[in-house]
């Protein structure tokens, strides 16, 4: 673990990604301390340009854009982490079962994943939210479900390759039972690509959340989320372009950071790229 972080910090991409991710996460955690205004409070100064008093200006209701951005980070991080967690854990379990047991189990799980995969992720998330009703919890569940097939496929492919390794035959040849082979020998050996997938998946989850909120099915007004801020800015984009630019830049930087971190993690954990010690 210590070696992993040392390698991450040695890597330029890793440093940049880690810094960005930490910035976003810290912003989310410390939102009440960082925000300069109440994100929901409307003031008299409507659509005021960035400057004195309002760091990034105000929106059409006179709310401080900077403070809304800061609180919006909470939503993004929370949704990103929890939704990815749901997708990752379900995908891990399904992928392990499909890859290890094969046959009918594999077929059933993978055909179900094919069905999920066949929908564009936004459309699927939309449909799930439409059924469950728009609120934060349902958005998270929807995004989590959308992410399951990606994890299932990654884990299953890796299990298939690990399963054919001689060391699996070797531990079975000394009489180790199935469940122990699966959890002690197969699972640890598929962790590296799984962790990489998890890191990379965080950015997708944040993006899907932003899209859902933009479409009005995620976080409900007046609560701030980057997607809903962008959505609300449409009406005043020409008069107050900062209301659109600020959440856009936030989304781009957050996703870039998570992706850079994901790339760096992959470079470190990928055994094919690992240097021989």
């Amino acid at each position: 673990m210590k070696r992993f972080f040392a390698a991450l910090l040695r890597d330029k991409t890793g440093r940049l990604g880690l810094a960005g991710v930490l910035a976003v996460v810290l912003t989310a955690l410390l939102a009440p301390l960082i925000a300069t205004h109440d994100p929901l409070a409307m003031t008299e100064s409507l659509r005021q340009a960035p400057g004195r008093g309002f760091l990034l200006g105000t929106d059409e209701f006179g709310r401080d854009v900077f403070s809304r951005l800061v609180y919006g980070a909470r939503v993004s991080v929370y949704v990103g982490l929890v939704a990815t967690g749901i997708g990752a854990l379900c995908g891990l379990a399904l992928g392990l079962a499909a890859g290890y047991y094969g046959g009918a189990v594999d077929n059933a799980i993978m055909r179900l994943m094919d069905v999920l995969f066949a929908f564009p992720s936004i459309l699927l998330a939309l449909a799930i939210v439409a059924v469950l009703g728009p609120d934060l919890g349902n958005t998270i569940v929807a995004i989590g479900i959308v992410r399951i097939p990606v994890f299932t496929r990654t884990v299953r492919a890796e299990v298939l390759s690990v399963k054919s390794q001689e060391y699996i035959a070797s531990v079975r040849s000394v009489g180790v039972r199935d469940s122990r082979v699966l959890f002690r020998h197969v699972l640890p050996n598929v962790m590296a690509p799984f962790i990489v997938q998890t890191t990379l998946s965080l950015s997708s989850a944040i993006l899907v959340e932003a899209s859902l909120s933009f479409l009005g099915l995620g976080i409900q007004p007046p609560n701030p989320s980057w997607g809903s801020m962008l959505s609300e800015s449409r009406r005043v984009m020409e008069l107050a372009p900062w209301t659109a630019i600020a959440p856009t830049v936030a989304i781009v930087l957050a996703i870039l950071s998570f992706n850079l971190l994901g790339d760096a993690v992959r470079d470190i954990l990928d055994p094919k790229l690992k240097s021989v010690e």
Binding site: Y167, V171, V174, V176
Partner: protein, 329 residues
Amino acid sequence: MSGTNDTNVLSVRGLSIRLATRDGGASVVDDASFDVGRGEVFGIVGESGCGKSVTAYAIAGLLPTPPLRVEAGSVRLGGRELLSASPAEMRSVRGRDIGMIFQEPMTALDPLYTIGEQIAESLEFHSSLDKRAAMEKAIAMLGRVGIPEPRRIAAEYPHRLSGGMLQRVVIAMAMINEPALLIADEPTTALDVTIQAQILALMNDLVGANGMSMILITHDLGVVAETCDRVAVFYGGHLVESAPVGRIFAEPLHPYTDGLRRSVESIGGSGGKLYAIPGSVPSAGRFGPGCRFHDRCAARVARCGIEAPPTTVLPDGRTVRCWLRGEEA
């Protein structure tokens, strides 16, 4: 040589294994019978895909099913039928009664556990030893297979060791429970020639010292000549000949065995062109009704292409599956 029943550790009768394919399936091993005596080193030789590894996996109950399936036959280990044993029973047989050594030592150990942990794991399953005692025994075993500084090596991960060292570790792992039968599937193929001889000598010593039996699967006739007591030759899923190792080289009964013997270079040989058996092995599933070797056989007669020869047991215990010999006997 082929001994009476009570001296046989392993007795395989009429073993047939099929591979399920889209177009119906293929016979991978057909009606193979052989015995392995107590303390005997039994060689199985043949080309790639002749069914020798599959036979070994079937004995250990490790056949990947599907696609491979035992169709018929019996495998008795110390008088106990293995083919009808439950998965739980087979688990207790593996490791305790049958040890296996694999071809690729580099991939035969889990990269995430130390060498000591892996050897101890197989011990913990078959004995009541606690972790510490199991580790001590593992370290002692590492010393017995010729690993220098076994205590230090036991704490190392597999990627830190060379192929030869790893194969010693794999041997230690297979032998730690002192199984009655050791199955070694091409144990030296992936190793340097200089290391090969060391590993073979080590395996022979350990097997001899513990009164174990060993099935040695190889495609290397030199290895067979050096280490085996008796040998079975496989061709295309048929066990074509089995005999004591001296007789196989001196007086091969089957034309295929003869071809194999003649295609090995010997020091001080004629220096002429090396003999090669004409043609190539047909793939499993493409065999006709006749002898599987008939289209490459120089001695074939009309009957060879029409009807598969039965296995003939000679008075001295040798077996051969060939029309030419069958009539003689």
